[in-house]
């Protein structure tokens, strides 16, 4: 398959940046989107040009590093999958595909398609943990967790921190990410001790980083590669109210 690519090139954090057009030929329909970019980069290197910088690690949808805005959709046209899981057969031959980095003030571009997502780490450091003294591994059934809570907590825990929710939100809000983390811990007994402080601190950090405010467009849920439900945002809001009134 052949494609015309319009890729965002930006030399450094301070560089202006622009879309540059490339063509790639004879790409296997079974190639992943990242493999297609690898092939492009090989050609660029052979021509003595600077390869396109993009983030990736696991290439199997579990690490969350590969987020790209592909033809106006976070992680490409499919629901419930990350950029690395996208195959070129999802496009038509001779398609033009625009590839842009996540765009949000708290995610500054480092180079080309690579953005700095450490804002997420700082939100986690503000409260996305349970403070316990680590000792020996506790007995497996020492803390009973009802099945339905465990299920819901797992639904939230699958968040891979990719940032597609922020990238796709018209407000650049990180609510789905923060909600997934708050929700996961609020649903488990281990997280209860610190639930009041946690929600306030994580939200305060989210605001301080410059993310926007959620206006319930639910675009995040539609584009999240792990299909995290906005139900978790509702739970975060309940946690917030609970923390304020109690």
């Amino acid at each position: 398959m052949n494609f015309t690519l319009k890729i965002w090139r930006q030399k450094s954090r301070t560089d202006e940046g622009k879309l540059v057009t490339y063509t790639v030929r004879d790409i296997s329909p079974d190639a992943s989107f990242l493999e297609m970019l690898d092939i492009l980069n090989e050609t660029l290197v052979r021509r003595g040009e600077e390869p396109v910088a993009f983030d990736h690690d696991c290439r199997e949808g579990i690490c969350g590093s590969c987020g790209l805005m592909i033809e106006g959709r976070a992680h490409g046209p499919h629901r419930g999958s990350a950029t690395c899981e996208l195959r070129m057969r999802s496009f038509e031959d001779d398609d033009t595909i625009t590839v842009e980095p996540w765009r949000a003030r708290p995610f500054p571009i480092i180079k080309d398609l690579v953005v700095d997502r450490t804002a997420f780490d700082r939100i986690m450091a503000a409260g996305g943990y349970v403070s316990v003294k680590t000792g020996q591994a506790p007995d497996a059934n020492a803390i009973p967790v009802p099945k339905h809570c465990a299920e819901k907590a797992m639904d939230a825990a699958v968040c891979i921190g990719c940032g597609a929710c922020v990238a796709t939100c018209p407000n650049g809000s990180a609510m789905l990410f923060v909600a997934a983390k708050v929700s996961q811990l609020a649903l488990l007994p281990q997280g209860h001790a610190e639930r009041k402080e946690r929600v306030g601190r994580m939200l305060a950090q989210m605001d301080a980083e410059g993310f926007g405010a959620c206006s319930n467009t639910y675009a995040c849920e539609a584009e999240c590669p792990k299909q995290i439900s906005v139900e978790h945002i509702a739970r975060l809001n309940r946690e917030f109210i609970r923390a304020k009134v109690s």
Partner: protein
């Protein structure tokens, strides 16, 4: 930081102010529509005028009017504040963005529908409230309404603006319940039902009035 300031400083807190003030304004719509339905009674506005007279003269209504006005103001100011904050969060726009693939148009253009509703309110308050309360308080409200609605251009503007109100409420009403953390719970179906009444039936009820007057008088 005290609980109140930290609440107000939080983006979620500000959203809750939007939700609370929005629902408060919705409650006013119900009262307003109920009274206006008497316009449809074929008594040449006797009962409608009686209600209007009560509204204009009963002393308790004054503070309620002021609270209502402040409610509008609060909703608008916090709305603009959030909108500015959200615009700042994405200084560089995408070259290609397919937002229609992941979200409803009504949710993305609340600021547009909000501005149209605000403009409508200015015209609306001017033609009815100001006229009946200050300019010609002695005239029958029913007669004022009949005269205003005689202008088909005014009626067209009125109906279109109510369409915008419906669109504003389509997103806003259910959104308020998401903000209170009530969506996705066992109340979901009830919320959806009440939301439908608010965004669909109430604007239709209001839009029926100019159309009725155009047809009947």
């Amino acid at each position: 930081m005290s609980k109140t300031t930290s609440f107000l400083m939080s983006s979620v807190g500000r959203k809750m102010i939007m939700a609370l003030s929005g629902l408060f304004l919705c409650s006013f719509l119900v009262v307003h529509l109920y009274i206006n339905l008497f316009l449809f009674k074929s008594d040449y506005g006797v009962e409608f005028d009686a209600y209007s007279h009560f509204m204009a003269t009963y002393p308790l209504i004054r503070p309620i009017e002021i609270v209502l006005f402040l409610g509008f103001l609060l909703h608008a100011i916090v709305g603009i504040w959030l909108w500015l904050m959200n615009r700042r969060a994405r200084p560089v726009k995408y070259e290609v963005l397919k937002a229609s693939e992941n979200s409803a148009l009504s949710s993305r253009i609340m600021w547009v529908t909000g501005i149209v509703v605000a403009a409508f309110l200015v015209v609306h308050i001017n033609s009815f409230f100001i006229t009946s309360r200050f300019l010609t308080p002695e005239r029958s409200m029913f007669v004022i309404v009949r005269e205003v609605f005689r202008n088909p251009w005014y009626d067209a503007f009125y109906v279109v603006a109510l369409g915008f109100l419906a669109y504003h409420l389509k997103h806003g009403f259910q959104s308020a319940f998401q903000t209170f953390g009530l969506r996705g719970t066992r109340y979901q179906r009830l919320i959806d039902l009440v939301a439908m009444i608010f965004w669909l039936l109430i604007p239709i009820g209001f839009a029926a009035m100019p159309l009725y007057f155009l047809w009947a008088y």
